[in-house]
Subunit: 239 residues, 2 copies
DNA sequence: CGACACCTTGAAGAGGTTCAAGAAATGTGG
DNA sequence: CCACATTTCTTGAACCTCTTCAAGGTGTCG
C-alpha cells in the first residue's frame, strides 16, 4: 500500500487558495496536510450532516454543491445557504457540539473531512491557520448580514437579482462563466432561501426574461444585462 | 497610583460567566486579565464603531444596549441585531480588517475593549479561550440562521412574538423579569430588524394588547401570556 | 413509456405597505 | 420650570405586492 497514493494533501490541492491560508512555509504546509482526515463522497440528495447530529468536523467542499437548511418541528423550513467548491460548511455545530441544520448535496459531491479538534490543535501552532479559521467564521457572519438585508428590505425582483449576481460571481471566481450558470437547486429551494414562494420565483424569472435581462431555460440561466440586475439591487430609489 | 484600583480584571467581573470561558486555572485566569486593554464609555446615540472603520478589537458589553446595523449607499438600512450586557460585538470586522456595520449605543454604555491580536495570542496558549472564541462566533452564526428563518418564513405576528420572547429570555438570563421589559429601541428599529414597517409593528403590538397577550405602555412591555406567544411562533399550522 | 418531480401561468385573496393625520412623550432653550 | 419643537407612536383608508389555489405543461428517470 503506497501512502503517497492515498494520502490526502492540501499542499497540492488546486482548491487550496480557496479554503486554506496562503503564503505558508514548507513546514507549516506539512502541518496543514494533517488537517484532513479523510475525504467523503456524498451522493446527490443525501445529507452530509443533519440537525441534532454530533459535531466533530468541518468540511471543505471539493466538488459538488450543497444547501444548508433549517427544518423546525412545526414544519417551517428555511434554506440558509448554498455552498460550492472551496467553501467550508459545518460552522454551526461548534457552539453546542451538535449540528443545528441539515447539509444536503444538490449534486454528487466530495468533501474533505477536517476534525475540529485537529483544527484547533494545529491552529495553536500555525498562526496563519488560526487567523484563517477566524476569517472564515467572520466571513460567514458578514454573508448572513447580507442575507438579512436582502430578506428584510428587498422586494422579490431585487432578491432574485441579488441572488443571481451572487451565484454567478462566486462561480466566476472558480473559473466559470461570468454570464452563464446552471442552477443546482429547484425554484422552491431558491424561494425558501429568498423568503419567497416558488411561484413568485418563477414569475420573477419570467419577468426578467420579458425585460430581456436574462435568458432562462429550466435551470440554465444566461445573464444578458448584468448592469440591469445590478441597478435593481442597488437602486431602490425607483419605487 | 494604585494599579489595583485601575486595573481592569475579568477575573473578578460579575459578567465573566457570560463573556468568558469557565473553569480556568488560576494561571489561565491571570492570562485572561491581559485581554482587556481598556474600557470605553459610549454615549447614547453615538457609535462604538462604524462601517468602513479599521477593525482592531472585539468588544464585550459591560453595561448598556446596542444595535448593529447595515446602511447601504442606496439608502437601504437593516438592523442586524440588538446586543446587551455580556455579549460580544465586532466579529464582522475580522474577515477584512474593517467593520462592515455600525454599532450604535441605544443607551449610555460601557464596553471592554479586547484587541484582537491579543485575543489570538492568548488563545494560542489558553485552550479554553480558543474554544470560547470559536463558540462565540459559531453562536452568532446560529443566531443569524434563526433570524433568516424568522425573516424568510414568519408573518408579522409571529416575528414580533419571537422577538419579544427572545428579548425577555435574554434579559431573564441576566437577572431581570421573565415577563416585563423596557424596549431600548424605537418601533422603527424593531421593524427594521424584523423586516416590517414601523406601522406594522405598532399595529401588531395593538393586536397583542387587544388579545390580552401583552400590556404595552410606550416602551414598557409586560408579557401576560407567554405560552400564547410561544404558540404563535411554533404553530404555523393555523393558517 | 409512464410516473413523478418540477416549472409556468392565471385569478382571487390576504397581509403588509404607503400616505396621512393626530396624539403622546421627550428633549431643549429661554 | 414651563413652552415649544421634535421625535415617536397610533390609527385609518387605499393600495400593492406577494401568496394561495388551481390547472396544465415540461422534463427526467427508472
Amino acid at each position: 500500500m503506497n501512502p503517497q497514493a492515498i494520502k490526502v494533501a492540501c499542499s497540492n490541492c488546486n482548491l487550496r487558495e480557496l479554503c486554506m491560508p496562503m503564503g505558508l512555509s514548507e513546514h507549516d504546509l506539512n502541518r496543514l496536510d494533517d488537517l484532513v482526515a479523510v475525504r467523503r463522497k456524498v451522493k446527490r440528495g443525501t445529507t452530509l450532516f443533519t440537525n441534532g447530529e454530533k459535531f466533530t468536523s468541518l468540511y471543505a467542499i471539493r466538488t459538488g454543491f450543497f444547501k444548508t437548511c433549517l427544518a423546525t418541528e412545526d414544519g417551517r423550513d428555511q434554506v440558509t445557504g448554498f455552498q460550492m467548491a472551496g467553501e467550508i460548511i459545518g460552522l454551526d455545530g461548534i457552539v453546542n457540539d451538535q449540528h443545528t441544520c441539515d447539509a444536503v448535496a444538490l449534486e454528487d459531491a466530495e468533501v474533505c473531512v477536517m476534525p475540529f479538534d485537529r483544527i484547533e490543535e494545529i491552529s495553536r501552532e500555525v498562526t496563519a491557520l488560526q487567523s484563517h479559521v477566524h476569517k472564515i467564521m467572520s466571513r460567514e457572519i458578514v454573508r448572513e448580514h447580507g442575507v438579512m438585508l436582502l430578506l428584510g428590505s428587498m422586494r422579490a425582483e431585487e432578491r432574485l437579482a441579488a441572488f443571481l449576481l451572487n451565484l454567478v460571481q462566486r462561480l466566476h471566481a472558480r473559473g466559470f462563466s461570468q454570464s452563464e450558470l446552471v442552477l443546482r437547486m429547484t425554484r422552491e429551494e431558491i424561494g425558501s432561501y429568498l423568503g419567497l414562494k416558488l411561484e413568485t420565483v418563477s414569475r420573477t424569472f419570467s419577468k426578467f426574461v420579458e425585460e430581456g435581462m436574462v435568458e432562462v431555460k429550466q435551470r440554465h440561466v444566461r445573464i444578458v444585462d448584468t448592469e440591469g440586475l445590478q441597478r435593481l439591487v442597488n437602486n431602490n430609489a425607483c419605487h
